[in-house]
Symmetry: C4
Subunit: 237 residues, 4 copies
Amino acid sequence: MTSAALAQTIADVVVGNHILARQGVVDGFGHISSRHPEDPGKYLLSCSRAPELVSADDIMVFDLDSNPVNGDARNPYLERFIHGEIYRVRPDVQAIVHSHSPSVIPFAASSARLKPIYHMSGFLTGETHVFDMRHRFGCTDMLVRNRDHGAALAAELGQKGVVLMRGHGFVACGPSIPVAVYRAIYTEKNADLQQRAITLGGDVTYLDDEEARLTEATNRGVVARPWELWKRQVQQG
Amino acid sequence: MTSAALAQTIADVVVGNHILARQGVVDGFGHISSRHPEDPGKYLLSCSRAPELVSADDIMVFDLDSNPVNGDARNPYLERFIHGEIYRVRPDVQAIVHSHSPSVIPFAASSARLKPIYHMSGFLTGETHVFDMRHRFGCTDMLVRNRDHGAALAAELGQKGVVLMRGHGFVACGPSIPVAVYRAIYTEKNADLQQRAITLGGDVTYLDDEEARLTEATNRGVVARPWELWKRQVQQG
Amino acid sequence: MTSAALAQTIADVVVGNHILARQGVVDGFGHISSRHPEDPGKYLLSCSRAPELVSADDIMVFDLDSNPVNGDARNPYLERFIHGEIYRVRPDVQAIVHSHSPSVIPFAASSARLKPIYHMSGFLTGETHVFDMRHRFGCTDMLVRNRDHGAALAAELGQKGVVLMRGHGFVACGPSIPVAVYRAIYTEKNADLQQRAITLGGDVTYLDDEEARLTEATNRGVVARPWELWKRQVQQG
Amino acid sequence: MTSAALAQTIADVVVGNHILARQGVVDGFGHISSRHPEDPGKYLLSCSRAPELVSADDIMVFDLDSNPVNGDARNPYLERFIHGEIYRVRPDVQAIVHSHSPSVIPFAASSARLKPIYHMSGFLTGETHVFDMRHRFGCTDMLVRNRDHGAALAAELGQKGVVLMRGHGFVACGPSIPVAVYRAIYTEKNADLQQRAITLGGDVTYLDDEEARLTEATNRGVVARPWELWKRQVQQG
């Protein structure tokens, strides 16, 4: 039987999928998961489906080895190991987004580093790392297809909220579904704004590390405001 | 009891919120206020809510110290001091917009200066100043959280219609709600157009100060035309 | 009494307004006119209204001095002289669009010249001229407010289909309403594409003048196809 | 009588038209064809109509010389020879898209070469060729108007999935309608992302040829996921 807490988390994962689609952070690809609210050794993630089309019935349960539990035989995302391996080493993380959003890909391919350009993205404190699978695994199809790939990605992420993936996309995580969604959306926005700032040709001033830390603390306190808006927008269709 | 004048101003603040959201000048964050039509020592501003969702019931009344009047205990915007301190020193100002709109942030982070690139934004006459809180207040969470912050911002604004805020956004103000909304929208547009012009690599000719002054006078006379369009667009949903 | 030919032209001017709004070529400002189908010494243009909101009842008739006929006392566009003075010197022109569209403004401010980057915009053959009012009229509010302004603009246009206006926008004209609308839309598109091509940093190859001439002849023959699409899109709302 | 296989292919050509329009890959111009499912010496292509407006009744049948069969006298696309000549020399190709999409045109005009910037566009392995009609045919109206033009284009395409056309657009092809549509959409996306990466000013790392080959194989296996989304989006209007 599904508890109220689990039903609520599943509903939030579904709405998180729809929000990310509407905000242009995911298209036919990309996914969002939540740690299981009653078992930190499990996580919730849709079967292989475009985020805009995900409904509650699509949500599967995986253990941290990224095996489906209860013999669920539906087709999972190939890259579910992103989720399992980050949950394994980051007990603070409750939700994870994987995306190929358009403003972030250029930074994932460039030697230019993504940095926080305004107070909305203080979670990008310091330079954001870029995970390059080729350094350790040679030429691949770029997908995080197994536990080794996932563990290497989690190591590059470290204790941060975001890591880029060369030639692929990025991962954002956080202590709740709204915060992980917020970070995914504002990683995309920050990348867009930073690219525009660079093309102005002047000197660009990024947030100081201390400013970034302070804004991040403030933003966690107001995340309910955009979350309410984003939910309303997807519920109105 | 609410007078007809007050009811009309509240309605205009609400529609101003919706227009700014539809035009992409505000998202989950940002706000618009009006000076109280019957008491220049007070102003009208929504409680803490995403602009797209603001309705007449959300509008609170504040004194110029940015304290809510009538014991209104709802949650106010943290940055209401932007409004109170500008109304205090600028008796000509009847409406104020605060925004993080996407084309303006790059100029708020860059040494490149925002300048009027066409006749629609003559109100940007001369170079637009950039307020940097760090110069006076050190590292903060970048928010205008108290009267001192607000007064410093108002001083940087001076007698102009727009001031940028480093790592944060901008403020536009004007002698009426339609003019403040117009200036916020065309600040965003001008920033976008200027960024594109810079990337063409040629020499860019901005409006001469006298041209800017003359276009600004003309535009105030025709602001009813776009205002009618913007209202119609948000009323049709 | 309105003849069938006049009623059809008025309907096409209205739908032209709506198409230009939907395509992002005009917003609260900008206008489209047609030469009167039964009197080449007159033209049809809306009263001062945002193009998206124009209906058949808004269409006024002007003589080539840009005075309203039949004592029509409604508020006209300030810049109607653009239309009257071009119709006066260009008997081949049957329709005119004035716009501030976003990709064109940067070229109207830059020393970089707009050139045809693909076969859709062969009408931009050769370099497109930029009309700068300041050279002849000194500092103004940039508007084409009288017959002298309009005549100077028409002289800069010469025998071409498009002329840019420094710090302001552009004018596109053609032998029919669909062709003028087509040219306005593809002037905007070409400017956008050329700006992107420039930022790639390589050498850009524009259409040869002879290629431009040949594509222009072809495109006039297929303009009914996009016109049908654009009409359908605005009629479906 | 129309067989079930043919009816299904016609339905997929129609939905492919609508998907490409909704994704911004075609506007009033551009087209998609399929090889005839029961006769490899014929192909299916709409009569001359904007893709968004194409319905099943518009689909014509052509032989590989690009002559309509069964005496169909409707107005065909001038550039149908793109399709016939590629089907002739590429038996592996089952579907072809021709487009003027906005991010690709700049690469079709520039000496900068389009390359795969992420795993979604591994089909762009190696540098993408640019077909320039002028080298062989001198100044033309840039259209692929006859068999000689089409054969020259097919030769420039070679065994690849995409070829650009200088001053014009591009062609994407594939072993099925969903794959050809996927390649057209991700050619547009890759061009956009590569342009942004270039403007960041750092070094850009593109996919290694072996990475591109491996991602291409993977992507063919998951194309049903975005195809399901794209179909749903156009069916909901």
